[in-house]
């Protein structure tokens, strides 16, 4: 595959801030193409340049207070920003100025040239792609509902907010030009505003009837919804919500920051850096996938599975038991198909142990993992081995 020459891209992709210093003409260095509210600053900057012939390194307090987010000059002198850059072991090709820009939420600075929105859109795609390919290649038989839950656990808003805290990124009380650029800058939601307008999909698995189009089933979610199986916000809704809600929560701002950092890392350092960043900060997190399952009728599902795959029908057998006539009996029951044991469960009643054994057997089926883990994005690397086809599973059990 041909490599992209990112630095040669036009100005539409890379804003003046993100380009290396040598390319930037001295005229654009401190100019802020913003709306008319900042006209006084622009005029004064021009006048000072005319007088002194160079851009001033420090801006006065009055100028700073008028800016919605910290100016570009402040990034190089911020200790917090440099410490964050070093702590995350980011490559030196990612400049501090860009790192500062990833910390500016759209709610703080609405201009897309100064906030992290373009980066976060790109970064979200990378995080979603790498996580989903990892989960699906690692456990090819997982049901889609579990895949969605695992995606949410790895790169969902809550996980990304936790990652932000672990990285030691602190939030500014209020955004502004005078704030240290090492803080996460976003406008907070007003305390009295109504937050419970739209519940998350994980709380209500079925879309509400008020949305008009009633969609049911997990398959439509893969096509129409976002990477967590959540209803995708339409453009009209987004517009309405952006006008109605002034601020964002800290969780939302942290999510945008992590995504933006991933996107910025790709733009400045390339794919290999993003992959190693993803491996170190996201795939290193522990997630017990077996705890994400919830079966309603495990015994029925197991017998359907055995019928579908052509195994003998499952039989529950008592492996061992103690205290059958006491107050606290324990039964250990195994589910057998012919002479093969599929799963084993323990419980204080025969029914409980039998159900647990069926659940263990179903988990044994769904949590199959190939011995060698290869993901499709490996093929983008130069000199990759020939691709072997992955296991394609017939799908979940539908009763």
């Amino acid at each position: 595959m041909k490599r992209l020459r990112l630095l040669r891209w036009s100005d539409t992709v890379l804003s003046p801030r993100t380009r290396p210093r040598t390319i930037i003409s001295p005229q654009c260095q401190c100019r802020r193409w913003q709306s008319a509210t900042h006209q006084p600053f622009l005029r004064e900057a021009h006048s000072s340049k005319d007088v002194q012939g160079q851009v001033p390194d420090t801006l006065s307090e009055e100028h700073l207070l008028r800016l919605p987010s910290p100016p570009i000059q402040a990034a190089s002198s911020s200790a917090k920003l440099a410490a964050l850059h070093a702590r995350l072991q980011l490559p030196s090709r990612l400049p501090l100025q860009v790192l500062a820009r990833t910390l500016v939420d759209p709610s703080a600075d609405p201009s897309p040239q100064f906030n992290n929105n373009p980066f976060s859109i790109l970064g979200n795609d990378f995080l979603g792609y790498y996580t989903s390919e990892y989960i699906i290649c690692r456990y090819p038989r997982l049901p889609l509902a579990v895949v969605f839950a695992a995606m949410y656990a790895y790169v969902g808003p809550k996980a990304l907010a936790a990652i932000t805290r672990e990285w030691g990124v602190e939030a500014a009380a209020h955004p502004g030009g005078e704030v240290d650029p090492g803080y996460l800058q976003f406008r907070r939601v007003a305390p009295e505003s109504d937050m419970g307008s739209k519940p998350s999909a994980l709380i209500s698995p079925m879309p509400d009837a008020s949305s008009g189009w009633k969609r049911r089933g997990i398959s439509s979610r893969t096509v129409h919804d976002d990477e967590f199986g959540d209803v995708r916000q339409s453009a009209k809704d987004k517009e309405a919500s952006s006008t109605a809600i002034e601020g964002v929560t800290e969780e939302k701002a942290s999510t945008n920051f992590v995504r933006a950092l991933t996107g910025a890392l790709y733009l400045h350092s390339g794919r290999a850096a993003v992959k190693s960043f993803f491996r170190e900060h996201f795939m290193s997190r522990q997630l017990n996938i077996a705890s994400l399952f919830n079966f309603r009728h495990p015994q029925r599902d197991l017998s359907r599975l055995c019928a579908r795959e052509g195994f003998q029908s499952p039989v529950a057998r008592i492996v061992s038991e103690t205290g059958r006539k006491s107050r606290h009996p324990v039964f250990v029951i195994g589910v057998f198909s012919g002479h093969e044991k599929l799963g084993e469960g323990a419980g204080s009643s025969l029914d409980e142990a039998r159900t647990c054994a069926a659940v263990a057997a179903l988990k044994g089926w769904y949590l199959y993992s190939p011995t060698e883990l290869r993901v499709p994005s490996e093929m983008e690397e130069p000199g990759a081995r020939k691709w072997d086809r992955l296991l394609v599973d017939p799908g979940d059990i539908v009763v």
Binding site: E340, L342, G345, Y368
Partner: protein, 209 residues
């Protein structure tokens, strides 16, 4: 011993018959020194042979004796592995080696443990006429011909009867629901809490295992 004499007197006063009193006293556990010693000596179990000093190994060695625990769900059973998976072949080789070892020691092959419920073969003994008859009876008098009664008459399971006669007696179903509601409305706090807790515990069976 003095402390136990008082309740004996009280109980003999309440139940004057001597034989029932003796029966009751036999149920009350009295802890004597002799029973303590007996319990202690019974709990003094000989350790597993692998923990004892080995006779064959002259030097220090590693003892691997894990406690019994539930099998890991991440270890896929052999039957669930795809045909191309290498573990399938390895498991077969290991099984063959084990069977060869057991054959040399001339022990019988391990038998399967007893089933929880008696195993049965599926019988497809009901004809189309039988099912029509089942539906007719259910339609004519759903109070009299309940699912259980039909199952007994046609020698089948009530689940199968439910499949066959689905949606025939809707009024009966509603009526039964109302009866259940009335019964539940008479429950007290304790019973209601206990039933709800039981339902919650049952829900967790499908999640925790």
């Amino acid at each position: 011993m003095k402390t136990f004499s008082a309740p004996r007197v009280v109980r003999s006063f309440i139940w004057p018959q001597s034989h029932s009193c003796n029966n009751l006293l036999a149920l009350i556990s009295l802890r004597h020194q002799s029973s303590y010693r007996r319990t202690r000596s019974r709990l003094n179990i000989k350790p597993d042979p692998s923990f004892l000093p080995s006779k064959t190994e002259p030097h220090d060695h590693i003892i691997y004796n894990p406690p019994p625990s539930a099998p890991n769900v991440y270890h896929t059973p052999t039957i669930f592995l795809p045909k191309t998976d290498r573990r399938r072949q390895l498991h077969e080789e290991a099984a063959a080696r084990n069977s060869r070892l057991s054959a040399t020691s001339s022990s019988p092959p391990p038998e399967l443990p007893p089933p929880v419920r008696p195993t049965y073969q599926k019988r497809y003994h009901l004809t189309q006429e039988d099912m029509e008859e089942m539906r007719r009876l259910r339609r004519e008098d759903p109070i009299e011909w309940s699912a259980n009664k039909l199952a007994k008459k046609f020698d089948t399971s009530s689940i199968f009867v439910a499949f066959v006669t689905e949606g025939i007696a809707k009024e009966k179903r509603e009526q039964q629901k109302q009866v259940t509601e009335i019964v539940k409305s008479r429950w007290g706090v304790k019973r209601r809490t206990a039933r709800e807790d039981r339902a919650l515990r049952k829900e967790r069976w499908g999640r925790d295992a």
